[in-house]
């Protein structure tokens, strides 16, 4: 429901203002007139999330972990500390936990209660992450959810689902694809998809970016 609503609303309101446009316009006007918000600060927030903060940050973290064993250990030991230097605008936030995928174990992240997500390394979450289908099924049918993403894990790979029910946030360290020996961190980062860091996807194979 969530998803369909958001997918199809572009063509409805080309010529007239939608209910939500009107509501938000009224809200912004009232909050500004009351002196609670400064429109210039609003513009800066939007710019930050549209142009600066996003999954490219997490991809750099993953690529470094693939390339540097001591960084990988530090990341798995205390991700909050390990990723401090990766903040594009500022330091990355607190309580970040990195979990490692292996041939035996696949990790997947969800927030069944709302939409908790590691904004500072992945940006704002996609619509599907916040939708009822994902929030309801990730915890009891993770293989079914993976199938929706076109991912089929070996039967022998166990699945661990992390429900983000507090202010701790999780990022998956996906498996490094084979055939990438000797690649630079920059080149490796190009294989790291957002979904691979949520656990609903795998890192790309070299053939997919060739």
């Amino acid at each position: 429901m969530d998803q369909k609503h958001e997918h199809h609303h572009d063509d409805e309101h080309d010529s007239e203002l939608s209910e939500m446009q009107l509501r938000v316009r009224a809200l912004e006007t009232v909050l500004t007139e009351k002196g609670y918000v400064d429109p210039a600060a609003l513009d800066a927030i939007i710019e930050a999330y549209e142009t600066k903060v996003g999954p490219h940050i997490g991809a750099r973290v993953v690529a470094k972990a693939w390339s540097d064993p001591s960084f990988k250990r530090a990341l798995l030991d205390d991700a909050t500390k390990a990723v401090l230097a990766f903040g594009v605008i500022n330091r990355v936030g607190d309580h970040l936990i990195a979990v490692e995928n292996t041939p035996k174990l696949h990790n997947m992240i969800v927030c069944t209660l709302c939409s908790c997500y590691p904004w500072e390394v992945l940006g704002l979450p996609p619509v599907w992450y916040k939708s009822a289908p994902y929030r309801s099924r990730a915890v009891n049918d993770p293989r079914g959810v993976l199938a929706d993403f076109g991912v089929k894990l070996p039967v022998g790979t166990a699945i661990r689902v992390w429900d983000s029910t507090a202010e701790t946030r999780f990022i998956v360290l996906p498996m490094r694809p084979t055939g990438t020996e000797g690649w630079s961190e920059e080149k490796l980062a190009g294989l790291v998809t957002r979904d691979s860091m949520i656990g609903t996807g795998l890192a790309k194979a070299p053939s997919e970016v060739a």
């Binding site: 607190d94 309580h95 209660l113 619509v127 009891n140 029910t165």
Partner: protein, 218 residues
């Protein structure tokens, strides 16, 4: 509260539908709304769990039928009215009808880099942690009508403490204006079969981040 927001394990919502090349926002009002929410959060008028609780209290049919940011907008209108900061009459008029109240602070563009970092929820403990990694616990069978972060599917279930995550602001009290009451936070892991019965995926393990008051030794 046992609301429709607590979706873990529910059936009938259908397939997950990823969108290719999804934009950060789908419409300009989503941009403005998101920024308004963050700016008002910075002003210190609510804490994150109060905002979550406002969305959870939307009528179930409205919650289910609304897009993500519509829920945020409706929750925000509700909170602003409850806190006496903006009246429904003002939103209907599209203009302030009364002067604003004094807020703790106001977000300026130069402060925006600071809010891109999430705040810390760590607090000094009030007592030593009751549990340690490896302890078998049973989650409590609680059904508060107020905000809680213990999902229904994980209540009255046996699990194992996997990690101690420090001491944090307790959502259940801070959401209803009863203080931060810091509590120890644990990663608690459950076997899929403990949660979903014999038909569960055999290899499945699910963890929640559980505050100490949700737990008893098993």
């Amino acid at each position: 509260m046992d609301g429709v927001h607590d979706m873990g394990g529910m059936h009938g919502f259908g397939k997950v539908e990823p969108e290719q090349n999804e934009p950060v926002f789908h419409d300009d009002w989503e941009r403005r709304l998101y920024a308004l929410y963050r700016a008002m959060s910075y002003a210190g008028v609510w804490v994150i769990d109060q905002a979550r609780f406002a969305r959870e209290r939307l009528p179930p049919a409205v919650y289910l039928a609304s897009s993500y940011y519509r829920k945020w907008e409706l929750g925000m209108e509700k909170l602003l009215a409850e806190l006496g900061l903006v009246g429904p009459d003002e939103l209907a008029a599209g203009h302030a009808l009364r002067p604003g109240k004094a807020l703790k602070r106001k977000l300026a563009a130069r402060d925006v880099p600071n809010i891109v970092t999430r705040g810390s929820y760590s607090r000094a403990p009030q007592a030593p942690a009751r549990f340690k990694p490896g302890d078998r616990i049973r989650t409590k069978n609680i059904h508060p009508t107020t905000h809680t972060r213990l999902p229904r599917y994980a209540r009255d279930r046996i699990g194992v403490i996997e990690a101690v995550r420090g001491c944090h602001v307790f959502p259940d009290t801070v959401a209803i204006d009863k203080g931060e009451d810091p509590q120890w936070l644990y990663t608690v892991v459950f076997d899929g079969r403990e949660l979903w019965g014999e038909d569960a995926e055999p290899s499945l393990k699910v963890s929640i981040e559980a505050f100490e008051p949700y737990l008893d030794l098993a």
